[in-house]
Amino acid sequence: MLLNYSHPLEISNLTTWLDTTLRSSMPEFWVLFIEFALVIVALLTAYAVIALILIYAERKITAFFQARYGPNRVGKWGLLQSLADMIKILLKEIVKITRSDRFLFFAAPFFMIVASMATFGAIPFGKGLLAVDFNIGVLYVTAVSSVGIIGVLLAGWSSNNKYSMIGAMRSGAQFVSYELSAGFALMTIVVLAGTMQFSELIEGQRYCWNIFNGHISSIIAFVIYLISGHAETNRGPFDLPEAESELTAGYHTEYSGLQFGFYYLAEYLNMFIIASIATTVFLGGFLPIQVQGWDAFNGIMDFIPSYVWFFAKTAVLIFLSLWVRWSFPRLRIDQLLNLEWKYLLPINLVNIVVMVILVLTGLTLKDLFGII
C-alpha cells in the first residue's frame, strides 16, 4: 500500500486493482479472458493514437525546420489535422488495380501492420505496462519486426507496376542489410546486460543506463542502432524504397484509401518502435533518472510516473530521427549498402568483441564504480 501512495499516478495501480477485483468474483479463466481483451483494446487504441500524434508532430517539426508553420487550420494550432486526415483516409475509395495480383495486393498491407502491431505489443511502456514479458524479448522484437518486409515486397510485386517493383527490390536489399546491424547492436547490449528479457534489462539500468555502463562500446552500439533502425523504417535519408523524386512513391504507389493508410500508420509506428526499443535497451526504459546515493533527488524523480519517462525519452529519439530525416539528401542504393557493409557492420563486429572484453575484464562503469 505504501508503494501505491508513493506513486499515485502510475497506471499499474489501476491494473492491479482491476485484477484483484476480477479475481475476487470470477474464475481464473474468465479473468484472463477479460484481461486479454482489455489489453488488446488498449494496445490497438494506443497504436492509433500514437500514430496520429506522431504524424502531427512530424508535420509540425518538419515545417519548423523548413521555415514554415505546418498544419494550423484544423483546430487550434492544427491539432485536429491528423484526425481529419484519418477520417479522410477511412472514407477514401480503395482503387482496384485491374492487372494486379489481387490476393497478394490485398494481403500485403496486413503483413506490414501485423508485424508492427506484434512488435508494438512487446514494448514495456511503463511500470507494469508490459503486455508480455518473454525471456527472449529482444530476440522476439527483432524477429517479429522483420516480418514487415514481406508486406513491402509483396506490395511491390503484386502491384504490377515497375516503379513499385524497383522500390520493393531496393527495400529488400536495404532491410536485410540493416537488420543485421540493428541485431548486432542489440546483441552488444545483451552481452553487457547478460539478459534478453526486457524487465530484467530495465531493472539492471536503475542507477546506470546501459549507454553509460558500457561507455565507448555502448555509445557506438547506440549510434549504430539508431542509424540502422532509422534505415529499417524506410525514412529519409534511407527512403529509397519510396524515393518520391525517383519512383513517385515506390512500393505503395498503387495503394489508396485505407490500404495506403496501413502503410502510412506502420511507417510512423515503426519509427516509434525503433525509438522505444532504443529507449528500453540503452536509456533505461521507463525508469526515471536516478543517482546512487542522492535519495532526495531520486525520490522526486521517482514521483514522475514511469510512462512519462518512457515517452519523454522516446520523444527525444524521435525528434533526433526527424532532425536527421529533414537535413540530409537521399542515399543512392550503392551508398546505402556501402554504409552498411563497409562501415556499420565491421565496426559493429569489432564493437561486440570490445564489449565482451570490457565485461570480462570488469571495465564497465558498474564494475569500476561499484554501482548496483
Binding site: I61, A63, F64, F65, Q66, A67, R68, Y69, N72, W323, V324, W326, S327, F328, Y343
Partner: protein, 165 residues
C-alpha cells in the same frame, strides 16, 4: 596503411559534414517563419501598386471615363482579350461621333502583357492590384469595364480633373 587512414578520415569528414548540415536545420528551427497567413492577413497584406491583377477603366465622380473607343487596345491585344463595341451618334452640333457602348475584357484570356495600357492614347484603362478575382464560372471572367450609363469625359474637363485616378 594509407587505405586505413583514408577509411577513417573519410568516415570522420563525412560525420563532420553531416553535423554541419544538422546545425543549419537546428538554427532554422528557431528562425522566424516566412509563411504568409493569407486570409487572416488581408488587412495588413501589401500588394505592390504596380501589380497587374485586373484591367479597370477609371470613372470619375460624374460617372465619366476617358475611353474614346478608338480600338487601339483591341488591335494591340495579342490574343483578343478586349472587345469594344461602339455606336455612332450625332452630337448637338450635328457631327458624327463614335461613343463606347460596351468595353468587354476577358480575364480568363488575358496574359497581362500591359500592351493595351501603354498604347492607350487617352489613358482610359489601367491595371489595378485587386487580385482576388477567382470566380466559379468561366462566363463571369468576361467583364464589362465601362459602368452603366457612363459617358466620355469632355476634353475641357480633362485639364481640370486629375487624370485617370
Amino acid at each position: 596503411m594509407s587505405s586505413i587512414t583514408e577509411y577513417f578520415s573519410g568516415l570522420f569528414t563525412g560525420i563532420r559534414s553531416l553535423m554541419g548540415g544538422m546545425s543549419v536545420t537546428w538554427k532554422e528551427l528557431w528562425t522566424k517563419k516566412v509563411t504568409q497567413q493569407y486570409p487572416e492577413n488581408r488587412d495588413t497584406l501589401v500588394i505592390s501598386d504596380r501589380f497587374r491583377a485586373e484591367l479597370v477603366m477609371p470613372h470619375d465622380e460624374n460617372n465619366e471615363h476617358a475611353c474614346t473607343s478608338c480600338g487601339i487596345c483591341q488591335l494591340n491585344c495579342p490574343n483578343g482579350t478586349i472587345n469594344i463595341t461602339s455606336e455612332m451618334i450625332e452630337t448637338a452640333e450635328g457631327k458624327k461621333k463614335k461613343i463606347l457602348s460596351k468595353y468587354s475584357w476577358d480575364l480568363g484570356m488575358c496574359t497581362f502583357c500591359n500592351l493595351c495600357v501603354i498604347t492607350c492614347p487617352s489613358d482610359a484603362i489601367k491595371f489595378n492590384n485587386t487580385f482576388e478575382n477567382a470566380v466559379f464560372t468561366r462566363s463571369k471572367l468576361i467583364q464589362t469595364l465601362n459602368k452603366e450609363g457612363s459617358k466620355l469625359r469632355e476634353k475641357k474637363k480633362e485639364t481640370l480633373a486629375p487624370k485617370g485616378e
